[in-house]
């Protein structure tokens, strides 16, 4: 049951619904009664994406069609590159999907600046990425989702790591009518490392779903995950994180944290941080907190002469900022700094 299969076969019955355990909070079946018409081909947008001119190259995927040199996403051993990968939805009320594969040879380093840009209203978009990393390869993947508020958007990435490879991922999203950003990692252990962070700022009637699954198959692997988010108005955020430690994957160190601020009485946060452990010599932990802004911190700030709205904005920014601080690419980190304030890029 996937959106990709539903689009391929033009069959709404294949849409995931709340009856699928992994989609219990992001029901597409109940939302989509009829699949929209397929999206037409569209020209590349004139304006630059949210990452501007950062990096060495740009690949555009407009309405599901690749414009540009896809081979830039296949790095030969030892090569280093920074690529902007822009998924653009340019036609209102239509549906499209795209599948790309990314591969890094041994010791290659890729900084992937991935953006989801909604330039029209109410589209239905699906993206699938199959990513493989050879030994010692490093992928820093920074995802910025700026979908339209009436859009339905799903992005699914599967990442296959070799020993000693490293994945560092940061996802930032402001949601959509229904949006899911999912990453599934096959983790071989053997000093491979995963950092999988994310942040959401959802308002209005928005919906953002960050789902991840990391399967530790070998010994000595690490995974760390920090997800933070703010929901306001009638928005809904979903976090589902699953860490599986397979039999024999000893000395796995996995940590997961999800922390959410709920700023309105009609907003909702649903979380399911899961640990499935089949090996005994492991250190695994997860923490999950959901609550309002700390009244004591607010009081402290106001006591020092800060107006309440300024204090609230500052505390919220600091809360989200922790995720942005962990981005390794300096220029990207600085560019995304303003996102922590209001979910926009200055």
């Amino acid at each position: 049951m996937t959106l990709a299969a539903a689009l391929r076969d033009r069959d709404v019955a294949q849409l995931p619904s709340r009856r699928d355990e992994d989609w219990r909070w992001t029901d597409l079946r109940a939302l989509i009664r009829e699949l929209p018409a397929p999206s037409p081909a569209a020209a590349a947008p004139a304006q630059a994406g949210p990452f501007g001119a950062l990096g060495d190259a740009e690949i555009l995927v407009v309405n599901g069609r690749v414009i540009g040199d896809e081979s830039l996403l296949r790095l030969a051993p030892g090569h280093t590159r920074t690529v902007r990968l822009r998924f653009v939805s340019a036609t209102a009320g239509t549906a499209h999907g795209a599948s790309l594969s990314i591969s890094l040879g041994a010791g290659a380093r890729l900084t992937l600046l991935e953006s989801y840009e909604g330039l029209a209203a109410g589209y239905l978009a699906d993206a699938n990425l199959a990513i493989t990393l050879a030994e010692d390869a490093v992928l820093e993947r920074i995802i910025l989702a700026q979908d339209d508020e009436d859009a339905v958007s799903v992005s699914t990435a599967t990442v296959d790591l070799a020993p000693r490879a490293r994945l560092a991922q940061t996802t930032l999203t402001t949601g959509a009518k229904r949006q899911r950003l999912e990453t599934r990692v096959t983790h071989p252990g053997h000093d491979a490392a995963v950092r999988m962070d994310g942040a959401y700022r959802v308002r209005g009637r928005g919906h953002a779903d960050l789902t991840s699954a990391v399967n530790h198959a070998g010994t000595d692997g690490t995974t760390e995950q920090l997800i933070k988010g703010v929901v306001d108005d009638q928005a809904r955020a979903v976090f589902q994180g699953r860490i599986t430690v397979s039999p024999g994957a000893d000395r796995t160190d996995a940590r997961m944290g999800h922390h959410a601020l709920v700023l309105s009485d009609r907003a909702e946060v649903d979380a399911k941080p899961e640990l499935l452990i089949f090996a005994d010599d492991v250190a695994c932990a997860h923490g999950n907190t959901v609550g309002a802004l700390d009244e004591d911190a607010l009081f402290y700030a106001r006591q020092r002469g800060m107006p309440e709205d300024v204090a609230r904005a500052m505390l919220t920014e600091a809360f989200i900022g922790e995720v942005i601080d962990r981005i390794e690419h300096e220029a990207v980190r600085e560019r995304l700094r303003s996102w922590a304030q209001d979910g926009r890029i200055a």
Binding site: P247, R266, A271, P273, E274, L275, V282, A285, G287
Partner: protein, 489 residues
Amino acid sequence: MPAVKQTVEHVEALERYQHGFITSIDQEFAPKGLSADIVRFISAKKEEPEWMLAWRLEAYERWLAMEEPDWAKVTFPRIDYQDSYYYAAPKTKEGPKSLDEVDPELLATYAKLGIPLREQEVLAGVQGAPRYAVDAVFDSVSVVTTFKKELAEVGVIFCSFSEAVREHPELVKKYLGSVVPASDNYFACLNSAVFSDGSFVYVPPGVRCPMELSTYFRINAAESGQFERTLIIADKGAYVSYLEGCTAPMRDENQLHAAVVELVALEDAEIKYSTVQNWYPGDPETGKGGIYNFVTKRADCRGDRSKVAWTQVETGSAITWKYPSCVLRGNDSVGEFYSIAITNGRQQADTGTKMIHLGEGTRSRIISKGISAGRSSNTYRGLVSAHPKAKGARNFTQCDSLLIGKESAAHTVPYIEARNGQSVFEHEATTTRLSDDQLFYVMQRGLSQEEAVQLLVNGFVKDVLQTLPMEFAVEAQKLVAISLEGSVG
């Protein structure tokens, strides 16, 4: 590491199941299998009024239309519901009036299990020792209930469920199925159709029940299931502490235990419900036999400021599948869940709780310690949810898991649903270690690591033991010690 070694020994000791004997006693059975006629047979045996039979039959009809759920992390061969006896009772002379008329074989069984059925035996103990009343359920019937007279003097009703249906139909009608509706889930529905005995407790307004109440469940008959039903009502301002224990003989076939427990707490009332579950877990090597413990337990904190605390120490059963829950309906009501679940051999446990916050200012606390040894699997599954109206709701959840053995498995599957901006939910889960954050916090204040660990361990033990009546605390303390010793290493 000696601590770990000791823990392993403790857990291995649990393998030697000491309650696995069979009592040979004349029993009468309902015909094998399940049908509307069997439901009528059980109802007739219990001399139930027409309304009770109608309720059972309706549940049976609904059950036929339901499908067995499969979402838990447990695997077992398909249950043949027609291959079991739904009613088994020791043959007795016409209604024994006193203990002297009860079959001596039965009395010997309870003596062997260490359950005091003679009031004077309890009284003859150390002066000032706490007393507790017992309802002894043997297969499908209640054998005896002690201290009924003394309890009646303060207005507390404590009797078998069958007796309650006959003697207090107005209370049973009012509350039965009001917390766990007949069609709530597959196993609760089955129970509603064929339930045999269980306990009924009513504590009138403002009364603090003068002693601990307890029920001891014993499955003895082969190829039978036990389907007891327990209903406890604490009226306004009342307090009651209730405990249950359970054992079964060692047999090669699996036996089903599908109970339903309903608790109702009205304004300012408090109920403590403690379980030490020690059903036969099956053969540790082959996994043969053992009890399937598929139980629905739920409390309704109906009144403002009411409180329910569940404590469970789960060591037995081939499969445990249960989630003692609290529906926090009254404003400022409180729900607590303390659990120690130990699995060994080839046992499987999928257990946890649900805290449903509906009222303003409701609070809940979940402490779960799971230990998984041998080739067993131990899952914590829990739900914490806050309704939009549950402003100021608070939850704290801590789940710690300890694994012993390469082939054991421990899972944590919490669900958190926050639907308003004025609630605070905190959840923390660790596997194999004490929380680094807590250690750091205490050590920051000048304590050595060892002292810090000790402090945290003591604090934790206190929390759980405070919720357990003294009679069970000793047994539970051993189990708590096991779970904590390992988690420090």
